[in-house]
Symmetry: C2
Subunit: 313 residues, 2 copies
């Protein structure tokens, strides 16, 4: 496992938001934190595959953040810089760190986001459509040349306000990531197994159900895979953990170059491990500071925690 | 894997409550359901090891329930029958089936419970002290002749009202089962890894953290094992799932006859599988109706869901 070289061609394209976050946790508060789905997903993916980002920032976007993307080897040719301010999000976490409340959202540059893919991205075999309006996800899909595997994320807002467009997107993706409440809202089924089955009937071959600190479940036509989360002793900031999970997963899958269920399971382990690093600091700092050896070591440790040797009582 | 014969000597002793439950779920309501920790734990354990029960019922305890214990091959020599009524519990589940509220508790016979062990139980190598007053758990421990492995369960009430006695029990058990909130209440640590470490410092070599539909975590001095729950499509009644988990686990461990961490992990898989059956019907009905082949088949299916083949992207 080696870090991709800067000159490699783009294997994975990630499209979504880039923002400056203001985050309050029970323990501290931080402003102007580098955030957005693209930031977290690309930072995680960059350790596995050459990743190209598509997003938009305003003129106020700090140069050190741009440099961070480049230092991680992320292809930034799809990063648009326009006049005005960068997207801002502000939120506060409850005592248990599991629930958060959005205090303020200023779309700014994101309101004008038109995801145009650089020519060099269009033949990439893997695509992650992070959470954004389904119409924009569709616009991205229309620009790609037969990607081998597409994953998409979404949110309750689009399930409620752009359902038809979301259903069109679902018809064209291989995997969708949802959390419990999104799966329930999308299908009307409280039971997650039934909900996942209904989502698969809408198009995707796979449903990755994200349960935060309780891990994830992968549903496919042939079965279910269960993946607990890597347990973390010190959660500093959970923001971006879901996108880090998705980015680590897609990066690892793109690296493997296979899309069968066994490869997907393995890639999910990497997604979990990357997410467990993400929550250890504000923004993408903990992920950005990683070395390959640190990832390998935690994956090894995680596999031990998951191992149940064969045998009957 | 064969069902234990009735004549075998007792390998596992289970001590706790036996009751008649009234259970309301969002879908239905049922009265006079056979319940109590001993019922659920023994029913699950009976498929793996010769299990002896210690509990008390009143004169109103229905004969068919006694017959059920015997049909399952449970040794009932430790079952006391006294004048008056059997313990009653009544509870209602919320829409998500994860949270429940106790409506009424009538201790009845349970108020006079003095857990006296039949001579034939005292040399049993495995002991499960289900949830009851720590002073009673201690009384049981005092009657046992050097058991090889003791697991204990408890509840928030004893953590609050009988902490000193509970601490004495913890010094003498190998494994304690706790749910998230009990672990937090016992230690004052919100983080579960830290909480488990503090519990181990109180005595037990192992802490099994029960997370209901999210599975379990096993903490030992050397590491952590993660075990998701077997996903269930139709949850009819979650009452007793935790005791079924513990009983299945202890039964499987007693059958294996080993107490190393690898054997404990494997036994936990059986506990999970038994719990997944338990929630499929009211009381112990779904577990009692099982055949060995049904258990084997679900264990096999569960192992597939947990399997993550080796390999790096």
């Amino acid at each position: 496992m080696k870090t991709p070289r800067p000159t490699q061609s783009v294997r994975l394209v990630v499209v979504g938001s880039i923002g400056l976050d203001t985050i309050a946790t029970p323990h501290s508060r931080r402003g102007r934190v580098l955030g957005g789905s693209v930031t977290h997903a690309c930072a995680a993916a960059s350790f596995f595959s050459k990743t190209g980002m598509v997003g938009v920032v305003g003129a106020d976007f700090p140069a050190p953040f741009l440099n961070l993307y480049r230092r991680l080897g992320i292809d930034t040719r799809g990063l648009q810089r326009i006049a005005g301010k960068t997207f801002r999000w502000s939120g506060i976490y409850e005592a248990d760190m599991n629930n958060r409340r959005t205090l303020k959202t200023e779309l700014n540059a994101l309101a004008q986001f038109d995801p145009v893919l650089p020519a060099a991205y269009r033949r990439a075999p893997f695509l992650f459509l992070a959470n954004m309006q389904p119409a924009l996800q569709m616009r991205v899909l229309d620009q790609m040349r037969a990607p081998r595997f597409v994953a998409a994320d979404t949110m309750d807002l689009w399930i409620r306000t752009a359902r038809t467009e979301l259903e069109s997107v679902l018809k064209r993706v291989d995997l969708v990531t949802l959390n419990d409440s999104e799966a329930r809202e999308l299908t009307g089924s409280h039971n997650l197994i039934r909900a996942a089955r209904q989502v698969m009937a809408m198009g995707p071959r796979y449903v990755a159900l994200k349960k935060g600190e309780h891990g994830a479940m992968l549903f496919s036509r042939t079965g279910i895979s269960l993946l607990p989360a890597f347990p973390v002793e010190q959660v500093v900031d959970p923001t971006g953990a879901g996108d880090t999970f998705a980015g680590g997963f897609m990066g690892a899958l793109a690296r493997a170059g296979k899309t069968d269920v066994a490869s997907i399971r393995q890639a999910l382990v990497f997604g979990s491990v990357m997410a467990s690093f993400c929550v250890g600091a504000f923004g993408p700092d903990a992920v950005a500071a990683l070395k390959q050896a640190g990832i390998r070591s935690r994956v090894k440790c995680f596999r031990k925690m998951l191992a149940i040797e064969e045998g009957r009582p």
